[in-house]
């Protein structure tokens, strides 16, 4: 600790250079924190217990491939299954593509059976929904976002499903609103727009009798894995093989369809840290080069080679540690924002811990070459300006 004022003063010898280097480290570790957290979420999808009794069955090969409606009865026959419902990706937006709407055609009874207690709604409005063929039951957040009211007729554009008349625009009558009982699910459900599966199935020009995926509620969450295996076994070697997994993993699997997320994230981080290595390494080398006479004076005063090596390494460590901690703190602060962007993905601050190790590693890599140079410094030559 007694060397700290010396190390600190040396670090800020060239303020502008230190600030810019520090900023680059902060940004790199902010990016590291964000990407590492997302990667961690993908690598550890089922860390919680809530929703563990919900399963999703989809086509084994791609979410874009459908399953026959006839599978429903077979799935229902699996022991341990309490209820089954079926859904299809509608791919909708309101007025313009950036106004995404998570429109979901549902079978009311089975859907509410699966999600018993998940929603708060008015029974009269629910009855109206049951009685209205083109009716829609909309999340209150979505209603607020677009200023919709009950009785409004809302056109949604589907990016997939054409109607029999060839139009991609579907019309719905808003007959009810609902909220979620679990506040943590509010963001995840904020864009949800429920409508009748029958209306959808009868209106679409292709794909009739098929569903996108099945959702099952199991009686005992502990049996989820065994039940998943039993469901998949039912359709093994058929033309529509299935993959059943916990609902929590579904959102992640959905995003993973885009590619190997982990690889993409690590590639970005690799590029960022490779650049950072050169930038910080160059700064440290330059800083030590400029201070050769000062380091020689320290040695003259009795600082040993090891003392000087330690001082330069400590300076590198301090620089990287400050940058890393600020960057990781910023990424911790950004977790709620990222969570909003990645609905359904649980983020853990635990993912930030490796950042500390990365910072130490970075400090050693960029600090060691100049520290060794300082250690090997010949006092007489350095004082004579021969270095």
């Amino acid at each position: 600790m007694k060397f700290f004022p010396l190390i600190w003063a040396t670090l800020w010898r060239k303020k502008a250079r230190t600030i810019f280097t520090l900023l680059s480290i902060v940004v790199a570790f902010l990016l590291f924190g964000v990407l590492e957290t997302v990667d961690y979420a993908f690598a550890h999808p089922s860390t919680g217990t809530s929703g563990a009794n919900l399963l999703i069955t989809l086509n084994k090969y791609s979410i874009t491939l459908s399953l026959p409606f006839s599978d429903e009865q077979e799935i229902r026959s699996v022991p341990g299954i309490a209820d089954v419902t079926w859904l299809t990706w509608f791919g909708a937006y309101y007025q313009e593509p950036k106004q995404f709407v998570f429109a979901l055609p549902i079978d009311i009874d089975t859907y509410l059976g699966i999600h018993k207690g998940d929603f708060v709604y008015d029974d009269t409005q629910m009855q109206a929904f049951r009685n209205t063929r083109d009716g829609a039951f909309v999340n209150t957040e979505l209603m607020k976002k677009h200023g919709w009211k009950i009785g409004d007729r809302i056109p949604l554009h589907s990016t997939i499903w054409t109607q029999k008349n060839g139009s991609l625009d579907w019309n719905f009558l808003v007959v009810g609103v609902y909220d979620v009982t679990d506040p943590t699910q509010r963001n995840q459900q904020a864009s949800t727009f429920l409508f009748h599966y029958d209306y959808f199935d009868e209106g679409r020009s292709f794909g009739k009798g098929n569903v996108g995926w099945y959702e099952e509620r199991v009686e005992d969450a502990a049996q989820s894995a065994a039940i998943s295996a039993r469901i998949d076994a039912l359709f093994a070697n058929s033309s529509n093989e299935t993959k059943t997994q916990p609902a929590k993993d579904f959102a992640l699997a959905f995003i993973k369809q885009l590619g190997d997320i982990g690889f993409v994230l690590r590639a970005i981080l690799g590029a960022v840290f490779f650049t950072l290595l050169f930038l910080t390494g160059n700064t440290m080398m330059q800083s030590v080069r400029e201070r050769i006479p000062e380091l020689a004076v320290l040695k003259t005063l009795g600082f040993t080679d090891a003392n000087v090596l330690g001082l330069v390494l400590a300076e590198s460590l301090l620089l990287c540690a400050i940058g890393a901690l600020l960057g990781l703190a910023a990424s911790y602060g950004a977790l709620p924002i990222i969570k909003q962007g990645l609905q359904g993905v649980e983020l853990s601050p635990l993912a930030l811990l490796p950042g500390i190790g990365v910072a130490v590693l970075l400090a050693l890599i960029v600090g060691l070459p100049p520290a060794l140079r300082a250690k090997r410094l010949n006092i007489v030559d350095a004082l004579a300006g021969k270095h």
Binding site: L6, L298, G302, N307
Partner: protein, 227 residues
């Protein structure tokens, strides 16, 4: 008979640059008694600074024996030589060589970082050394905010603060005007006379050399004459 603080026996120093060999010191023998103020004079390239570096433990002779403050320096390894320097030698350079980012007080404290003194004691000792050299009022100032004479006084305070056995000064007035130079030389003289510090000073300046108790003249790597 007074105790010898520096004893050099048949010292040779050869520098090798590529295939070229330069013999800087050739069989030099010298004794300096404790408490003496010696001025080393001579033309450029005569070996004054090399001799000073050897006495200060910054360099090692190619051959010969060198004993300073009772320690055979030619037999010490790098780490031991560093620790010996920290305990026994105070250095004063021509261009002060203060750390530009540290205040005068922090600069003076530097040698004390190698001791086990607590922070408060280090600070007190640094202030005492600055008071001794007459620049205590500049303790919080950085080197860039000091005049040449003040900076050199701070450098002398840094050399003194750990109470070394010997002060080694390489052209301490080379960058100073006459008035500041005389003040610094008076200070060195006081440290020698009143505090018994052994001082070895390299200088080109005959006036500066007059402040020393003995003048040694070097030429072509050997002692030419004494005055």
């Amino acid at each position: 008979m007074s105790e010898t603080i520096v004893s050099l026996r048949n010292i040779r120093k050869r520098y090798t640059r590529g295939k070229q060999h330069v013999d800087v010191l050739e069989g030099l023998t010298l004794d300096i008694p404790k408490g003496e103020f010696v001025a080393l004079m001579g033309p450029s390239g005569s070996g004054k600074t090399t001799l000073l570096n050897l006495i200060g433990g910054l360099d090692k002779p190619t051959s010969g024996e060198i004993t300073v403050a009772g320690q055979r320096l030619d037999q010490l390894g790098g780490g031991a030589l560093s620790r010996w320097r920290a305990r026994h030698v105070g250095f004063v350079f021509q261009s002060y060589n203060l750390m530009p980012m540290l205040s005068a007080q922090r600069n003076v404290e530097l040698p004390l970082l190698l001791t086990n003194l607590p922070a408060a004691q280090r600070k007190a000792n640094a202030l005492a050394a600055l008071t001794l050299v007459g620049v205590a009022d500049r303790a919080k100032h950085k080197p860039a905010e000091l005049s040449g004479g003040q900076a050199q006084r701070v450098a002398i305070a840094r050399a003194l603060v750990a109470d070394p056995t010997i002060l080694v000064c390489d052209e301490p007035t080379g960058d100073l005007d006459r008035k500041s130079a005389d003040e610094v030389l008076h200070l060195l003289q006081t440290l020698n006379r009143d505090y018994g510090k052994s001082i070895i000073m390299v200088t080109h300046d005959p006036k500066a050399a007059e402040f020393a108790g003995r003048q040694l003249h070097m030429d072509k790597g050997a002692l030419a004459e004494s005055g």
